[in-house]
């Protein structure tokens, strides 16, 4: 036996891993369930439930199916500016009105929506050192349907210490907004008694609605991923992704206020966004195992041709305790620049731009999340967890000079939310 020192041992250990690797026996079903409450102060409340079933079959084949149900109630900002006087808006259907009080962010509270999503995923090894995964996803809500397919091919290198993957996803969404799709930047018709009869109001309202054109969108996503084991305690991942979206990308329920020199809103125009968007993202994640804790830190950089870029830093630090429980503080910091066509309001007298939106979500934002999770693994292999998080989002001034009375009003309101989640694995 010329092989000396640890060469022989290494070869032997590697061979013994191969010997036992084939013993991945078919497992029972694993179930993963969670229920989450999301609540904003005085605004949107959401309840979301997830039920996932996974089965590992012989030879590392894996099937999983997931059901997600969420329901949303409450009001969300419609994009209009605050005013020193009460404002009246027409509901998206055109059948009613809602109001915003003095110095109050105009909220549209006419929505109550339930979404159901079903997805299935299959993955299996493909030849030596390859793994393939394919899946489909269907989602349905009152005014929105989506169907998506994905495929991911992974290739292992270097003793499975390096994994390169290429993923493709295609999603086809269709939008059927309540009251139809508004004509971009047309003026919201508000019935203040100026119409001779109901029919006159209807025809004015209908003139703000599109008759043809795109009523859906399709999304192509490409992800290139690289996972690298650094050492026994350290693993990293890098993703580069591209996303091309085409179709109707406007939020049919959002408006932009047009204000005069005194800062008074003279009309509300339905927002209008470009019909395509190209996005790029870079994502890096690192996980490090300490003696009795695990640190998971990630960074994401995104950029798109709407001019929105964002930075996200997220950290989860899991303290592992002897009794199989853990405590995991979570911090997330998010910063986003505004879209080129974002504006908190339009100025009367200026030419109406081709695209404009006052949706705070594509404005300039800073957000942070603080949270903590407690989890416990039971002897039977079951596991439960409780998570509480606080989310704060602050819209930032984009440097548009506020005329007259707008000066004293909050053009960039902030939002607070609480997230509470229970999960159980069995």
């Amino acid at each position: 036996m010329q092989l000396n020192k640890t060469d022989l041992k290494k070869a032997l250990f590697a061979a013994s891993c191969t010997l036992l690797a084939g013993n991945s026996v078919a497992q029972d079903w694993d179930f993963d369930t969670a229920i989450m409450y999301y609540g904003e102060a005085d605004r949107v409340q959401a309840l979301e439930g997830i039920f996932q079933a996974k089965k590992t079959l012989k030879d590392d084949k894996e099937f999983s199916a997931k059901l997600v149900v969420d329901s949303l109630t409450g009001a969300s900002a419609n994009g209009a500016v605050q005013q020193a006087t009460a404002q009246t808006f027409t509901t998206p259907s055109g059948n009613g009105q809602y109001t915003a009080n003095t110095s109050e962010t105009p909220l549209d509270d006419t929505f109550l929506d339930t979404r159901v999503q079903i997805s299935a995923q299959w993955s299996q090894p493909l030849a030596e050192n390859y793994v393939v995964s394919t899946g489909a996803n269907v989602s349905n809500e009152y005014d929105y349907q989506s169907i998506a397919f994905n495929g991911v091919l992974g290739r292992y290198f270097n003793n499975k210490n390096t994994t390169a993957s290429l993923g493709l996803s295609y999603a086809l969404d269709s939008v059927d907004p309540v009251g139809g799709r508004p004509v971009g930047l047309s003026t919201m018709v508000v019935d203040n008694g100026q119409f001779s009869d109901e029919a006159a109001y209807r025809s004015a309202f209908d003139a703000t609605r599109q008759t043809g054109g795109e009523d859906g969108k399709n999304t192509v996503d490409v992800i290139l991923g690289l996972t690298q084991v650094i050492n026994r305690q350290w693993i990293t991942q890098f993703n580069v992704s591209l996303s091309e979206v085409d179709g109707y990308l406007t939020d049919p329920y959002k408006v932009v206020s047009e204000v005069d020199a005194s800062g008074m809103a003279t009309q509300q125009r339905y927002e209008n966004r470009p019909g395509s968007r190209s996005k790029q993202a870079f994502f890096a994640q690192s996980k490090y195992r300490f003696e009795s804790s695990v640190w998971d830190i990630s960074y994401r950089l995104t950029n798109d041709d709407w001019g929105i870029n964002s930075h996200t830093i997220e950290s989860r630090y899991r303290f592992l305790f002897d009794n199989n429980s853990y405590l995991e503080p979570h911090i997330r910091l998010y910063q986003q620049g505004e879209a080129d066509f974002y504006t908190p309001f339009l100025r009367e007298g200026d030419a109406v731009p081709e695209f404009a939106s006052a949706d705070y979500r594509i404005g300039k934002l800073n957000a942070y999340t603080f949270g903590i999770k407690y989890g416990k693994k039971l002897k039977s292999g079951r596991e439960y967890g409780v998570r509480l998080e606080y989310y704060n989002q602050a819209s930032q001034d984009v440097g548009v000079e506020a005329p007259g009375g707008l000066n004293s009003l909050d053009l960039y309101p902030s939002l607070d939310a609480v997230i509470l989640q229970f999960d159980y694995k069995f």
Binding site: N158, N161, V229, V245, L320, R387
Partner: protein, 73 residues
């Protein structure tokens, strides 16, 4: 298209320089094989978070597919 080529090149470079001397032997995977070291650990939490941030912020994806599937944005 140029962007795509650049991104592919970036990943290729990371891949080539990144892995030659890194990694562990199969029998040293004891820690990496634990649930908490899995990159998909807490996948349910991440899915729920993604949905929230997707509906409240202007950008999405990165970790996985940015996807559509929801009219909330």
């Amino acid at each position: 298209m140029k962007k795509i080529i650049m991104l592919f090149a970036a990943v290729a470079i990371l891949g080539v320089t990144g892995c030659s001397s890194l990694g562990v032997q199969p029998w040293e995977r004891d820690l990496l094989a634990t649930d908490e070291m899995s990159l998909s650990a807490g996948a349910t939490d991440l899915a729920l978070d993604d949905h929230i941030y997707f509906s409240k912020e202007g950008t999405s994806g990165g970790r996985g597919f940015a996807g559509g599937g929801c009219g909330c944005n």
